[in-house]
């Protein structure tokens, strides 16, 4: 009897434990996913009502602006929220100052005022499209704040100063509340995410190199990884910029992060060049060189991993660094041995050249990899200084939007403002000014966004959705409300729903749009005004404004938008041309980061699967990266030779032909560039046989020859040969010529 009792007790106890454990797991899971969302929702709502309360107490003209500011700067991590807040504040200040100036210059001169405003909005939108980071938000804001203040002041220019002051005050209150709540209450630090991003980047680069050296990666995978890598590099930079505003030591580590980012980019490019060289040889069934390289690959790929995976954090990378440093001490001896062994197998001249190129690239990759691992390892150190004795100049990653796109978006915003403002002036609909302002705001915001259509569509949907709810809340609930607590209770359910919606990445725009429109239409004030006619008018104007913004995007220069493939392809050629002719310092770094940035834009513009044209552009970018480094090296070597040296002249001619080809693509120019490369190669080889002594010249010539070989093989690559852009542009110019005739 007792034994049965005991066993049933045991069963019960184990069952209890099981239930408790699974409940715990469910709770943990909930806290990790939904809990984070709800914390964010509660923080947003608390900040919004705090701002509204302060605005009520201080008796502002429109307390809703403070509340709306909170919804705008509510972002998941405190670094991002602080960053956006500060740029919002700066943008508002600049916009107010400009609006005062414009209204002061053209009081009661609507035409001139519209023109001046359109010019200012155009400049600001262009600037924002050029930058595409948090700063671009400040630019957009400086543009539309000027509109928001100057347009309603047309008929009352004397009040413009009061408008400006109250706008700045309201925004500042909203920003202070949002910053306080997001940074002090359950903050989610951007710097923690940055650490993860840095680790992820290192892990991916090392894994990519390891897999490619083991030969277990296909070309299609490689393309995809390149796009992903470009996105990661850009994300790292934007994360660093946001963490800069947080408390912590990221600010003093900016230098190290830039160094890591750029060394990772350089190492990957060199590796990729080497990898493509090998792949081309393999395709041609010329297996002698790839086989000779195998032992080098094996040694390096072994030390890259620790216990079968890349170093998990910066401290662990110290081991990798020691291993690679040990390898690079032995490297010259190994390379010499390999060279001797290779020559014993009586290779053809082409194979010899390919081998030289491969060894040269491998050595360079080895050095750059060591640099990258050292940079990564340095992040674990307590001291945030770059080790003494390293005189490397470190530059930041610089974004590069094709200038035509920035120009077009500036033009679009300016003409949207001008057209709509004139229509409003002629229309005599009092609410139309709201529509004009909303249209200008969203023309500006969408031009720096990677998905302008999605942004406008989602916000329109959110706005339209908010209208009936706001109507219900305003005319059936708020008219019974007494006191601030009741106001909170009446508005809370709607705002909670909107804020929760904005935590879902796919529909975030709808949620933010809903909350903005809700706060805008409810317009809580100390003396509430209930006016159904103006409610309907204003809500219609807001939605119409958004639709007009979408219309402007579809009608005015619709092809010129972020991530447009054609413009990216053209910007890539432009970058390559710059490499051949420009004399700026730091050309290499600039080229590297700009091309990566263009790749990133291409990546963000892709919806769904990549089509053939996009992949062509991608391949073009990667090939240009290879050629670019070779050209830079060639230009560098040329300055070391005396200008009258025949080799220097040959190189000069070759680079000129390449520049011609990059500036205007045609098959004739391509053929000329290839011929020039071949001719230069011939001259160099002759020179090399003449200078037998082991002087510095021989080394320079040898290196230049490998560079020329790289350029030659890349030029013959399919990515640069059949260029649909050249066909497009030649067709275009023909048409234009006919038209002119």
């Amino acid at each position: 009897m007792s034994s049965i009792d005991q066993s049933s007790q045991r069963v019960q106890a184990s069952w209890h434990r099981h239930v408790r454990r699974s409940l715990k797991r469910v709770a943990q899971d909930w806290i990790g996913t939904e809990g984070q969302r709800w914390i964010f929702v509660l923080k947003t709502v608390i900040a919004a009502f705090l701002a509204l309360w302060i605005a009520f107490r201080l008796g502002f003209d429109s307390p809703r602006s403070a509340m709306m500011t909170v919804f705008i700067v509510a972002l998941p991590s405190s670094g991002m929220a602080l960053e956006k807040s500060i740029y919002r504040l700066l943008g508002t200040l600049v916009g107010c100052a400009v609006s005062l100036g414009i209204v002061g210059l053209f009081p009661q001169q609507p035409m001139l005022l519209f023109l001046a405003l359109a010019l200012w909005v155009g400049v600001c939108t262009g600037g924002s499209a050029l930058l595409r980071n948090a700063r671009s938000y400040g630019f957009v804001l400086a543009g539309y704040t000027a509109c928001m203040i100057a347009l309603p002041a047309i008929n009352a220019p004397l009040n413009v100063f009061e408008f400006a002051v109250s706008r700045v005050t309201e925004i500042t209150v909203g920003i202070l509340c949002a910053a306080f709540v997001s940074d002090a209450i359950f903050p989610r630090h951007q710097s923690d995410q940055l650490v993860q991003a840095v680790r992820g980047l290192y892990r991916n680069v090392v894994q990519l190199c390891h897999d490619a050296m083991q030969g277990s990666i296909t070309d299609a995978q490689m393309e995809k990884l390149h796009l992903q890598f470009a996105a990661e590099v850009a994300a790292l930079e934007s994360g660093r910029a946001a963490s800069w505003f947080e408390a912590g030591d990221v600010r003093t580590r900016s230098h190290q992060l830039h160094a890591f980012n750029s060394s990772a980019m350089v190492a990957l490019t060199t590796f990729h060049t080497l990898h493509r060289l090998m792949q081309r040889l393999r395709v041609q069934d010329d297996l002698l060189v790839p086989q000779q390289m195998l032992p080098l690959y094996r040694d390096l790929s072994q030390v890259l991993l620790i216990e079968g995976q890349p170093a998990r954090h910066a401290a662990e990378a110290g081991t990798t660094r020691i291993h690679i440093a040990a390898l690079s001490e032995e490297l010259p001896r190994k390379l010499a041995e390999l060279r001797d062994e290779f020559l014993r197998q009586s290779p053809t001249p082409e194979q010899k050249l390919a081998m030289e190129t491969a060894l040269e690239l491998f050595q360079r990759f080895h050095d750059e990899l060591l640099q990258m691992v050292s940079d990564y390892h340095a992040l674990s150190g307590r001291l945030s200084l770059i080790p003494a004795g390293e005189q490397r100049k470190i530059l930041s990653y610089s974004p590069s939007t094709p200038p035509m796109i920035a120009l077009a978006s500036g033009l679009r915003s300016a003409s949207a403002l001008l057209i709509l403002a004139l229509a409003w002036y002629a229309l005599n609909w009092p609410s139309a000014v709201g529509a004009v302002i909303i249209a200008v705001i969203f023309c500006g915001l969408a031009s720096s966004s990677p998905d302008p259509d999605g942004l406008i569509r989602q916000t329109t949907f959110g706005f339209a959705l908010a209208v009936p709810f706001a109507f219900f809340c305003a005319f059936f609930m708020l008219n019974h409300v007494e006191g601030y607590l009741m106001l909170i209770l009446a508005m809370l359910p709607f705002l909670l729903a909107g804020a929760y919606l904005s935590t879902w990445k796919k529909v975030a725009g709808i949620g933010i749009g809903f909350n903005l429109m809700f706060a805008q239409m409810i317009a809580p004030e100390n003396m509430m005004r209930f006016n159904v006619a103006s409610f309907l008018n204003d809500s219609m104007a807001q939605v119409i404004g958004l639709i007009l913004a979408a219309l402007m995007f579809a009608l005015i220069l619709p092809e010129h938008r972020q991530g447009s493939r054609r413009h990216i392809a053209r910007a890539l050629w432009e970058q390559a041309w710059q490499l051949c002719v420009s004399n700026k310092p730091n050309l290499r770094h600039q080229f590297e980061s700009r091309v990566r940035d263009l790749l990133n834009q291409l990546n963000m513009g892709i919806r769904g699967t990549t089509d053939a044209a996009t992949r062509q552009t991608l391949n073009q970018a990667i090939t240009l990266l290879e050629i670019g480094h070779a050209i830079l090296d060639l230009r560098d070597l040329r300055t070391r030779l005396s200008p009258n040296h025949p080799a220097a002249k040959a190189k000069e001619a070759c680079i000129d032909r390449l520049a011609d080809y990059f500036r205007e693509r045609s098959s004739a120019r391509h053929a000329k560039a290839v011929a020039a490369t071949e001719a230069a190669g011939k001259v160099l080889r002759d020179e090399l046989t003449r200078t037998e002594d082991a002087s510095g010249d021989a080394w320079i010539l040898q290196r230049a020859l490998t560079n020329l070989h790289m350029i030659h093989t890349s030029l013959l690559d399919s990515a640069l040969q059949t260029s649909d852009t050249s066909a497009y542009f030649s067709g275009f110019s023909d048409k234009e010529a006919n038209h002119a005739a």
């Binding site: 306080f180 940074d183 002090a184 408390a247 912590g248 003093t252 307590r382």
Partner: protein, 65 residues
């Protein structure tokens, strides 16, 4: 301390000026804290920084008052 000061004929609360000055001081101290790793020994970095700002603001305002 006067309650309001005139800047180009515009009256501003003098506490605003004090706040701007203390924010500038705060940025400097914040940078130093980051540089010398003070934040590594702090439980709630953001709250610590906020308190620092309030302390500086209070100190400067009281000093002038």
């Amino acid at each position: 301390m006067p309650r309001e000061i005139a800047v180009f004929g515009i009256l501003m609360p003098s506490l605003l000026a004090v706040f701007l000055v203390s924010a500038a001081i705060h940025v400097g101290i914040d940078w130093l804290c980051g540089h010398f790793g003070v934040y590594r020994h702090v439980w709630h970095r953001s709250l610590f920084r906020l308190c620092l700002l309030i302390c500086i603001f209070g100190a400067v305002a009281l000093l002038i008052y």
